[in-house]
Amino acid sequence: MPASTNKTELLSPELLAQLERLELVSRKIFRGRMKGERKSKRKGNSVEFADFRPYVHGDDLRFIDWNTYARLDKLFLKLFLEEEDLHFYTLIDASMSMDFGEPTKLQYAKQLAASLGYIGLCRADRVRIETLGTTVRDPGPVLRGRHNLYRMVEYLEGIEPGENISLLEGVKNFCIRNSGKGVLILITDLMDKTGYEAALRFLMAQQMDVYVIHTLSPVELKPEEQIKGDLKLVDCEDSDFAEITVSRPLLDRYKKTLASFIDGARTYCAKRGMVYTLANTETPVDQLVSTYLRQRGLVR
């Protein structure tokens, strides 16, 4: 099922309008690089009071609370919360296996990344979209501000299937390049013959707020509709093949395998503090964002 070049717009005006009302949520408070609209763990220059601290040499005299000094005859520094931006990473699995389905899983991933990215842009977060194939030399752009929507979409549309190497390698590269903390959305089908566990472990080590969006097309979820007869199934990535004769017991068995695969991934993520969401490409992106991801707490 080769990919049809899907020219539908990544973001429709209605979707944009809907997305503008949303906000990305981080379950942890992360240190941003630039002053943003979010509270930071760092004490800083915002108007929001945080705490007092005894004065030590070298502290900025401007932050001394003179009223306290007058009352207690001791120097205290008044601390304010710093408001910072959110680092929002979207990691798209652009393997050949994502180039299946109607719309293709990759297209779906792009749409999802665009939607979430736009939310981030609107809230002045640092939005960075990368594919698993992105190398150190060619990192994705870091975008901030609504005006960068066009660049983001342009970058997304430039993503071609088959860019990335294995899931593990891709994630490894990403982790090397991005040591910062933040929210990470991994959009993938997890179809890696070596297993997805190692890759997810890398992400966990980053102490990021990780969301795994498991994208599966109807071909994978309901094969009985498209796979019939005696077939030689060819893997589009490594040309591996499996000879099957489709039968009811085989399909039942496949469904069992699929269910245990999904369940395994969900359990694996849940145990490691990651949020797992299964996304069927048949589910519209706006519904996914406004309903499912809202329920998962990624947006509000």
Partner: protein, 658 residues
């Protein structure tokens, strides 16, 4: 199962190529259509599990192949046109005549236990072929006919009744069955049950006769509306050895010795020509004899039994032939009948002493009375009805001769032809007729007689003791009885004193003489063979004294009580079983008599089936084979093949794998 080839060699070659072709196509089909999928990851994991039971999986995967092969196999079988052989039923009214006589117990048939079962199977086949509206009735016959079921179209009932037909040990005679059948088929003959519509409307009918054809030819019978079809049951090359006669009798040379005589016949070329015959007495082996039977015919065998008491004897042939019932024969030696003896004497110690011996008591009931008894009413009544077997008058005579054998001692009987000559002193005995039973073992050489009269006898008399003055002892017949007259008395009376006229009474020969008298004139038969009747025949029995009932114990062991009909007459007809039956009178503990039931019928023992049935005017030819009507199976096979095809189509489309 028979097959009819419907295709030529070329067609067969083409047809037989198809299964390998299907196999080849199936292997070619295994070049699976390639399909690119996102990942074989999940599929691999799925089929990995299946590899564990891959053989079963392969079988499951090729169910379509199997169904196709089954389909073509069914088509090939259908092309062979398989079918069962059956016989056709002509007409719409059928009468099935089934022989259940003794010879139908022969085991010379294939596919069945015996001939009767084979016949029943054939009839069941025919009943199965009855069409809607056809009616049939079943008759069974041995020496008499029995309507097993009246005309009906209820096949289930017919089959149930057919199953219930039991073999019998009777002889066969088809004529009664034919008459019954013809009465139902020909108008103008009486019906069996009033208001029976089926019988009333007489119509032509097809009559199927299942028999071995061994019965007397049918006389005075015409078939009329009946269309007979005769199926001989049995194997023409069967073999049988049979005892057709078996009885005991006295040795004519030695009266007290018994002999058993049997006649053995041989049927069929394969029957053995030599056989061992074992004789059993009350269950114990008594004698064995080897009998050679000529190629074509019969042989007799004789056994000397000596002096056997009453009991049952059985003769058994040690042979395994097709018909076992006639390899055994039964006979019985009945206990001697006790003679009723009346002795009229005014007193004779020696005579009374001789009549009191054990031997005499065993064979007779002796009553001793005074001559005055002759004037009483009891004597007159009893002598008139023949209540006595023997009356001995010692020096007295009745007014009229009794209805019994008599012995007159020293007295002239009041009967025509008898007279005494002049009284002579000390006659010389010249000769005794020793060949006569009365005089056997009697030596009168040491006997002298004081006074005697010559006996003049009527015609036909036999002189038993001859003397110089004439006959001293004569026996002569009288209307079925015999009178013996002794010309001298044992006691003589002279001058008012009695003395012994002869010393014979003191000699050893005297008690022997008395015993001979009682045995011969008392009508005692030693070794009386019990009657032998055919199975199913009526046994009539007459008791001597009035009895309210008798008990008959068949070989099966369950005693039956029979009430009398008429004066002292009893009849018993449950004589189906071959063997010896015991008859016990009234409250007596021991069997009074035995009778035996044997087949003893050459026609029944000749089990080689006859090819035709002879009637007086017609000959019914036997069908050597069943009419070649086939019950076709190919339609069924084609239907089955179509079902297979539908199942295959369904599985292919729905991917429902079993």
């Amino acid at each position: 199962m028979m097959f009819l080839n419907t295709l030529g060699p070329l067609s067969w070659a083409l047809l037989l190529i198809i299964p390998p072709a299907i196999l080849a196509l199936y292997f070619l089909k295994l070049r699976r259509q390639p399909l690119e999928v996102p990942s074989t990851y999940l599929w691999r994991r799925t089929i990995e599990d299946l590899h564990v039971n891959s053989l079963w999986q392969k079988l499951r995967q090729s169910i379509l192949l199997f169904l196709q092969l089954l389909f073509i196999f069914l088509i090939i079988i259908a092309c062979l046109r398989p079918g069962f052989s059956g016989s056709s039923l002509d007409g719409d009214r059928f009468i099935f005549l089934i022989d259940n006589s003794a010879s139908m117990n022969a085991t010379d048939v294939e596919d069945a236990a015996d001939r009767l079962s084979a016949a029943k199977n054939h009839v069941a086949d025919l009943i199965d072929q009855m069409k809607r509206g056809d009616v049939a009735m079943i008759l069974s016959f041995s020496n008499r006919a029995k309507i097993v079921h009246q005309y009906t179209n209820d096949r289930r009932k017919l089959l149930a009744k057919l199953k219930a037909i039991e073999p019998t040990n009777r002889t066969s005679d088809i004529s009664e069955a034919l008459r019954v059948a013809s009465g139902l088929a020909n108008p103008g003959q009486s019906s069996f049950e009033e208001g029976d519509e089926m019988v009333a409307e007489s119509k032509p009918a097809t009559m199927y006769i299942f028999s071995d054809g061994q019965f007397p030819s049918v006389q005075d019978f015409s078939l009329g509306n009946l269309n007979p079809i005769y199926f001989p049951i049995g194997n023409p090359i069967s073999s049988n050895l049979a005892i057709v006669a078996f009885s005991t009798q006295r040795n004519p040379e030695r009266e007290n010795q018994l002999q058993a005589y049997a006649r053995i016949e041989r049927y069929g070329d394969t029957a053995p020509t030599e056989v061992e015959a074992s004789l059993y007495y009350n269950g114990d082996l008594l004698d064995v004899s080897r009998v050679s039977i000529p190629e074509d015919g019969a042989a007799g065998v004789q056994f000397d039994l000596g002096t056997l008491e009453a009991g049952k004897i059985k003769l058994e042939l040690d042979v395994k032939d097709d018909f076992a019932l006639d390899n055994v024969a039964y006979a019985a030696i009945n206990p001697p009948r006790k003679a009723k003896v009346l002795v009229v004497t005014s007193g004779n110690e020696y005579l009374q002493f001789a009549l009191a011996t054990d031997e005499i008591e065993k064979i007779s009931d002796v009553a001793i009375v005074d001559p005055t008894f002759l004037e009483g009413d009891q004597y007159k009544a009893e002598s008139a009805i023949g209540a006595y077997d023997l009356v001995i008058y010692e020096q007295c005579a009745p007014e009229t001769m009794p209805n019994a054998n008599t012995l007159f001692i020293g007295m002239n009987p009041p009967s025509e032809g008898w007279s005494f000559g002049e009284t002579a002193n000390i006659p010389q005995i010249i000769d005794t007729t020793r060949s006569h039973p009365i005089m056997s073992f009697i030596d009168l050489g040491n006997v002298s007689i004081y006074e005697a009269n010559a006996v003049n006898a009527p015609q036909g008399a036999t002189t038993l003791i001859d003397s110089d003055i004439g006959s001293l002892f004569t026996i002569a017949p009288r209307e079925g009885y015999e009178d013996a007259v002794l010309g001298f008395a044992f006691l003589a009376i002279e001058d008012g004193k009695s003395f012994y006229n002869t010393e014979w009474t003191k000699r050893l020969s005297f008690p022997v003489f008395v015993k001979n008298i009682v045995e011969y004139l008392g009508n005692i038969e030693r070794g009386n063979t019990g009657t032998s009747i055919r199975p199913g025949a009526q046994f009539n029995y007459r008791t001597e004294a009035p009895m309210p009932e008798i008990h008959i114990k068949p070989p099966s062991g369950k005693e039956r009580t029979i009430g009398r009909h008429g004066q002292n007459m009893f009849s018993f007809s449950e004589t189906e079983m071959i063997g010896t039956y015991d008859v016990r009178e009234g409250a007596a503990n021991d069997a009074r008599q035995h009778f035996s039931v044997n087949i003893f019928n050459s026609q029944e023992s000749n089990i080689i089936p006859s090819n035709e049935i002879q009637t007086e005017w017609e000959v019914i030819e036997g069908k050597s084979q069943w009419s070649p009507v086939r019950k076709e199976l190919w339609k069924l096979l084609i239907v089955f093949a179509i079902i297979v095809l539908i199942v295959e189509w369904y599985i292919y489309n729905r991917r429902v794998y079993l």
